[in-house]
Symmetry: C2
Subunit: 401 residues, 2 copies
């Protein structure tokens, strides 16, 4: 029988969210009477807006009629959708032809590995969304060729780029999952200058850009002049429009991007996706088109504002002396450190004592040790209840000690 | 700047359907007054059935309400859908837990490469759907480690397996795209015995199994006892339910499958898909559930029968003395050879003289040279017009010669 892909053995034994699921399940088996406040998985909870629902329904109607039925679409997605994204999200600084519609940012991150092969060096923020690391390892990038760039309160969550000197690929997630830190214009300028100097390709993950409230912060790497020569950007409708289950995202691959031999990365991306992908669902595309309408865009912005309101509740946790709260204005996450506690200890404590599901920061990299991530997606009411429980528990602990 | 994945240079310069598109476009630019009869791309043309449309619409409605909204689903898809597929397509011989719902067979074929890494030997039918070859090359399998198994009228389209002795992975597409040949029970038994003896993993592509009319032919490799120890099967709703644009398929990975070291292939598949995939669209899943209902399944079977009726039209081409027509009963394709003509010559002739778009057999492998594939998806009326045009042209040619 076939040999195992040897790279599976480079992966850590458990995927973060799988482990959380197991601990949740075990807790509920021990305490079937308890109800959990889930501030864990970064999943949306607000419904699709009415215009999106109507658009799906109308498209389904058309798919049921011979004269308006559609089969395969272009692998890179609908031209109308690309144009809409170019206008709505990039004010035209990225052209429609450079936008490739996908079934989500995570899936495209997986496919992007095909551009590089396994003989590359990779740098990534630490802590960060685990998929860049696992995807690189699975593709065969040697563990010793992957460099982690700590992002901590001590460096304002922006890494020391000198640790990434000469790397081939640098993943950069801003606003960052899990820290919530959003890079400034100056920081992204530094990143682009670094990439130009070092011959590095930036994979910029902007999946949380819709949460940026500070109008001075860039929402796309392509707001930085020259980024089109060194960067690819992945993005998604998931968080903006509640499409985590609907599956729709996009990747920007600038036409200017070239390998040192002069070959076009843009052309290779077209070729690679034609082999391993068949385009997003046209039902999801119909949903996406409605998001880009006046009514849809407004409704999605209001939903984001609702999540931001929930996020604001976390501010109350500043009253707990042992807690340090970071970020939480330009991303849907609060990033919390408790002196002297490991991430998984803190996770277990929140679960057992307050029935709160969090995500242990250590699961995102060793620089996340000592932190947990709390999500605002559960909504104002649940976040409020969680904060109440945490404040109660903290005051009890103080009385007892 | 990052090095290019060296494996891009192993790929042939043009993807088959891209080249066909270019020639179609060029023809229409020269002859804007002409209308083409498209028997090329294997795309469905009949609308979604009413129960499928309603299911999408009702699900969209639910997605618009907070209490019934759904975010991320399981990466491997809805349990209800898995159960339905297990019952409808496998009469229970494959369990629901062994079924992984995907966004289509092509996408899963791309992801399956992750199980193997690049240090494998691969065998595939010739001619065959180009994605197995291109996907293997892109993943880094060395061209000299890929073995093509000719399937021609001379061997009744079943390969000489001795050419694949000791290979790690063998792709087998039945009913075959493009030849239309469907393997018999005995042939698949031979394949499974070979795989057990040689330690070969079979990737069985059953995407066209719904077209099998002969009740003695197997629709799944898992109808062969012991296949669960040596085979993975990919399948799709695309052709059965008209979901080419909706995107929904599945892959069966038996729990029994092991690497020689004893590690579970099933567990690795869960891990790999968790890293590079996020599940199919839940809108597509809602559509798929309706396909599995009594009403939906019956409607889809009727659609398949309609395509089969169109396919039957091709029988008229047997009147043309220079044509040899193969298969065309258990797959939506007619596979035609014209003595003394290359595939691309025949393609160009059909396009220029009869305004018919075909697919040159040579694009599926060198053993497809001299053939073209004609598809029945365009429907009875278009196939009839195409056959009229071909018969007219053939009789004119005879008069002229």
């Amino acid at each position: 029988m076939i040999k195992r892909n040897p790279h599976f053995s480079s992966l850590l034994p458990n995927y973060l969210f799988e482990e959380i699921g197991l601990r949740k399940k075990a807790y509920l088996e021990r305490h079937p009477e308890k109800h959990l406040l889930d501030l864990g998985l970064g999943d949306t909870t607000l419904p699709l807006s009415p215009v999106v629902v109507r658009s799906i329904q109308e498209f389904a109607e058309k798919m049921g009629k011979k004269e308006s039925y559609k089969g395969y679409g272009p692998t890179s997605g609908s031209v109308e959708l690309k144009r809409g994204i170019s206008e709505r999200f990039y004010a035209g600084i990225v052209s429609a032809e450079e936008i490739f519609i996908s079934d989500g940012a995570k899936c495209d991150i997986g496919r992007l590995q095909l551009l590089f092969g396994d003989d590359v060096t990779v740098a990534l923020q630490d802590p960060v969304y685990p998929v860049y690391l696992d995807g690189s390892l699975l593709q065969g990038v040697a563990p010793q060729n992957i460099f982690r760039l700590p992002c901590t309160p001590e460096n304002q969550f922006f890494p020391d780029l000198s640790l990434a000197k000469g790397v081939d690929v640098l993943y950069f997630c801003s606003p960052n999952n899990p820290t919530g830190a959003a890079a400034t214009h100056e920081q992204l300028q530094e990143l682009v200058s670094f990439a130009k100097k070092e011959g590095t390709l930036i994979i910029f993950d902007a999946a949380y850009s819709c949460f940026i409230q500070d109008i001075n912060l860039p929402k796309s790497i392509f707001e930085i002049p020259g980024a089109e020569e060194v960067a690819i950007e992945v993005n998604s409708f998931s968080k903006f429009a509640g499409f985590t289950g609907v599956r729709l995202g996009w990747t920007v691959v600038p036409k200017e991007l070239r390998y040192p031999g002069g070959e076009s990365i843009y052309q290779d991306w077209i070729r690679a996706t034609d082999i391993v992908f068949n385009g997003p669902s046209n039902l999801s595309e119909a949903a996406g088109k409605a998001v880009l309408s006046e009514e849809g865009f407004k409704a999605c912005k209001e939903q984001v504002a609702t999540y931001q309101k929930a996020l604001h509740e976390f501010e109350r946790l500043r009253e707990i002396p042992s807690y340090t709260l970071f970020a939480g204005t330009n991303a849907p996450y609060a990033w919390i450190r408790v002196e002297g506690k490991s991430s998984w200890d803190l996770f277990d404590e929140l679960l057992n004592e307050c029935q709160i599901v969090s995500v242990p920061g250590a699961g995102f990299g060793s620089a996340g040790e000592g932190f947990v991530r709390l999500s605002a997606f559960a909504g104002v009411e649940v976040v409020r209840q969680a904060c109440d429980a945490l404040l109660d528990y903290a005051s009890e602990s103080i009385i007892q000690s």
